[in-house]
């Protein structure tokens, strides 16, 4: 397959890079706007593969990819696995319950043992912020951060922006409103970095107890008023209330949260008429989002899921491509 011939010369908002500079994808902040453009254009090409009768190309044949998930995940792991299989990589899933960590092995030793088996790419999910940086320091393999603690989840942000790009003509000046549990969201940081880098006007909204210290220094508007946040919004993205992380006293009840911050059809009328509603999933219906919105015409939530596969194929392809540069396909 020759992806570059499919990539249109014309890009969305920016000049397109020819390759990714970084060996790993640990943080969205490592990507320049032109690299983001390259990922999007590549994902456009990759998406077509998913519509074929035989949804498989040999691009990563002979490459070994380990999906190393130290934290439970269903959709991210499935999405990566489908992406890897469509590119013909050999994949191996290692998840929480099969890990030596329960036997007392440290992350460094687990990584060194993996390294000794020479995988080409490690897709890594871990509960500790910065764990993917630790892994990348040790491993010769390319590392894709599939979520590290409360820090980042770069491919989620990429697929979110890729989905926005389908529906909006430009990112410049787009009002994107992110509502909910900011404190425990790794998707938030990645989305802020990415959307700010592309020129969007990002608003974040949360109860004061779930607001992030100093968040306005990211160049976003922060408010506890859902009405203000949603007014004239082009994109509304409620975040999941991460009930399993709520070890404190953040909201008195989910009922009160929904009353104050839930995305309902009535609230959505304040937004632009062509607003789209996104959700990184999994959703708590009736907590951060009403069912009639989740299933309504403004919702692009399932498109996000389909786009996730294409975007992850693009990232895998481009990261592997550094060492494949110059080779023929």
């Amino acid at each position: 397959m020759n992806v570059s011939s499919r990539v249109s010369a014309e890009t969305h908002d920016t000049m397109t890079a020819q390759r990714l500079r970084s060996k790993h994808l640990l943080s969205v902040s490592d990507l320049s706007p032109s690299e983001i453009g390259l990922i999007f254009d590549t994902a456009d090409a990759m998406r077509e593969i998913g519509t074929r009768r035989i949804k498989k190309v040999p691009a990563l044949r002979g490459k070994t990819i380990v999906n190393l998930f130290f934290e439970p995940s269903t959709r991210t792991r499935m999405s990566f696995e489908i992406a890897e299989k469509r590119l013909s990589a050999d994949t191996l899933n290692v998840s929480g319950d099969t890990l030596s960590i329960v036997k007392g092995e440290t992350l460094v030793d687990t990584a060194k043992n993996l390294e000794a088996m020479a995988p080409d790419i490690i897709v890594f999910r871990h509960a500790a912020s910065g764990a993917s940086h630790l892994l990348a320091d040790i491993c010769a393999a390319r590392v894709i951060n599939a979520g590290d603690g409360l820090h980042e989840h770069p491919t989620q942000a990429l697929l979110d922006a890729f989905t926005i790009r389908e529906h909006k003509s430009t990112f410049k000046g787009l009002k994107v409103t992110i509502v909910g549990d900011l404190l425990h969201s790794r998707v938030l940081r990645s989305n802020i970095f990415l959307l700010r880098s592309l020129g969007a006007d990002v608003w974040v909204c949360a109860p004061a107890t779930l607001m992030l210290s100093g968040v306005e220094k990211f160049g976003v508007h922060a408010t506890t008023s859902i009405e203000e946040a949603i007014e004239d919004a082009d994109v509304v993205m409620p975040l999941r209330m991460q009930l399993e992380r709520m070890r404190g006293h953040f909201v008195p009840s989910l009922r009160e949260y929904f009353e104050m911050f839930g995305i309902t059809a009535r609230r959505l009328r304040r937004a632009k008429s062509d607003v789209i509603v996104m959700h990184p999933g999994p959703m708590n219906r009736g907590v951060e989002i009403a069912s009639d919105v989740a299933d309504g015409p403004a919702s692009v939530i399932l498109e996000q899921v389909s786009n996730g596969v294409a975007v992850r194929m693009a990232v895998l392809y481009l990261l592997a491509g550094i060492e494949l540069a110059g080779e023929e396909f």
């Binding site: 440290t106 460094v108 764990a131 630790l134 603690g149 409360l150 210290s213 100093g214 070890r247």
Partner: protein
């Protein structure tokens, strides 16, 4: 080497207790300071050491270290800890009780003292626990600890969280003239935090600890000190709000003192990265806190510099930031950091620096030292303030390497350390330092 009789000639002597800050000679006889003055007479049987360009100070006292023995000898031992101390210019250290077992019993105190005497390097002043097993439930036998050699009590690592327990401890120690040293931190406000709460924590996705977690307990302890008349010393103070509380307490005449660490006056949360050698408790604070500490060091509201030397094995620190233990080593970097960042940058004078490193720690702990007054033990820290140094963790005498300062280039070094007139350390990178101790 035994120095029966030696005159250090022409050095710069800084001894704030005597109001000395200038060129002076020091005569040491049988391990004691015999005389300090200009142009001391030199007779034939006295060794004369050329002290020109060196700064002679009363020996530095680090009032907050963790020597890890008994129980955690893989991190540090008393022998390696005191070796690190003298290499860092400290003639004495006060060691915190969070060993295994906790130093909550005279038997543990005696064992620490026995091992430190065997090492024959720095003096070691044990700090006993406030409560049994530092659990916060029952006072230790403080009189016994005092009799065995403890100079203060603290549950360091854990705050004394119960206000009534703190009140009783402060009342009780008034009978023994010793301070209660508190690791001030409200446990509920700390929560699962690992770094200072602020933008850097947000950007890195690490849970935050606000400065107020510290200051609310400092405010409580200042009030309890006023109520009881007991002396409270705030360990490793890091937040500007805490400094404000200490200042208010001092103005009202409360018996409150405080120390700060070199890492809190050198680094801020902006230096944070995913490296557990930047993880300590209290965490690296905001620029405003660092600036407040610099102001407090300059104006005298901060009493002492202490390292909170907290050695950990490399395996313990080479893990995820969230899961790594808090703490960094400090004994072998403190003097160079302070000379470079405080003295050379004119934040404090040399004389004030000696107060912070020697005179005030001696006063707070009620231990000898802190001055070169004739008759006192010849415990001296000799500085080469213009010497350029590069911090190399692999050369530490400490067992541990957990420092964020590895590779830093600084101006100002320890040339030699004397305890009872013995050179317990000479810096072999400074050829003239050796001449201070060698017989011709």
């Amino acid at each position: 080497m035994r120095l029966n009789d030696v005159v250090f000639k022409g050095g710069h002597v800084v001894d704030p207790a005597q109001g000395l800050d200038g060129v002076s000679d020091i005569r040491v006889t049988d391990g004691k300071i015999a005389a300090v003055g200009k142009d001391l007479p030199v007779d034939d049987d006295v060794r004369v050491a050329n002290a020109r360009d060196f700064v002679f100070c009363p020996g530095f006292i680090d009032m907050h270290v963790h020597l890890r023995e008994p129980g955690q000898e893989h991190k540090e031992t008393i022998a390696t800890g005191v070796a690190a101390a003298v290499a860092g210019g400290f003639v004495a250290v006060a060691c915190m009780p969070n060993t295994d077992p906790i130093n909550d019993h005279a038997g543990v105190t005696e064992e620490i003292i026995r091992k430190s005497l065997a090492a024959k390097l720095a003096r070691v002043y044990p700090i006993g626990a406030v409560t049994t097993n530092s659990k916060g439930e029952r006072l230790t036998e403080i009189r016994e600890l005092r009799a065995a050699g403890c100079v203060a009590i603290s549950d360091d690592g854990h705050p004394v969280r119960d206000a009534l327990m703190m009140r009783r401890a402060l009342e009780y120690v008034t009978m023994f003239d010793m301070p209660v040293i508190n690791h001030c931190e409200d446990p509920s406000l700390k929560g699962d935090g690992v770094v200072h709460e602020g933008f850097r924590a947000t950007a890195l996705g690490l849970r935050g600890i606000p400065g107020v977690a510290e200051s609310v307990m400092v405010e409580r302890d200042v009030s309890l000190s006023e109520l009881t008349g007991g002396a409270v010393h705030v360990a490793h103070m890091s937040a500007s709000e805490s400094l404000r509380a200490v200042r208010v307490g001092k103005e009202r005449g409360a018996k409150v003192t405080c120390e700060v660490t070199p890492h809190h006056f050198v680094l801020t949360d902006e230096d944070l990265k995913y490296d557990a050698n930047f993880k300590m408790n209290p965490p690296l604070r905001a620029v405003k806190d660092r600036d407040a500490i610099l102001a407090g060091l300059a104006d005298g509201s901060i009493d002492a510099i202490a390292t909170d030397h907290a050695p950990h094995h490399v395996d313990e620190k080479s893990i995820e930031f969230d899961r790594a233990p808090f703490g960094i080593v400090g004994l072998e970097t403190a003097v160079s950091l302070a000379l470079d960042r405080l003295v050379h940058r004119h934040v404090v004078s040399l004389s004030r620096f000696v107060e912070l490193m020697s005179l005030n720690p001696a006063k707070i702990l009620r231990v000898p030292g802190g001055t070169l007054t004739p008759g006192s033990a010849a415990d001296m820290t000799v500085l080469a303030p213009e010497e350029n140094v590069e911090i190399r963790a692999e050369n530490f005498r400490s067992k541990a390497r957990n420092t964020p300062f590895n590779g830093w280039k600084l101006r100002g070094a320890v040339a030699a350390t004397f305890v009872d007139g013995h050179a317990v350390f000479t810096n072999d990178k400074i050829p003239r330092a050796r001449k201070l101790v060698e017989r011709p």
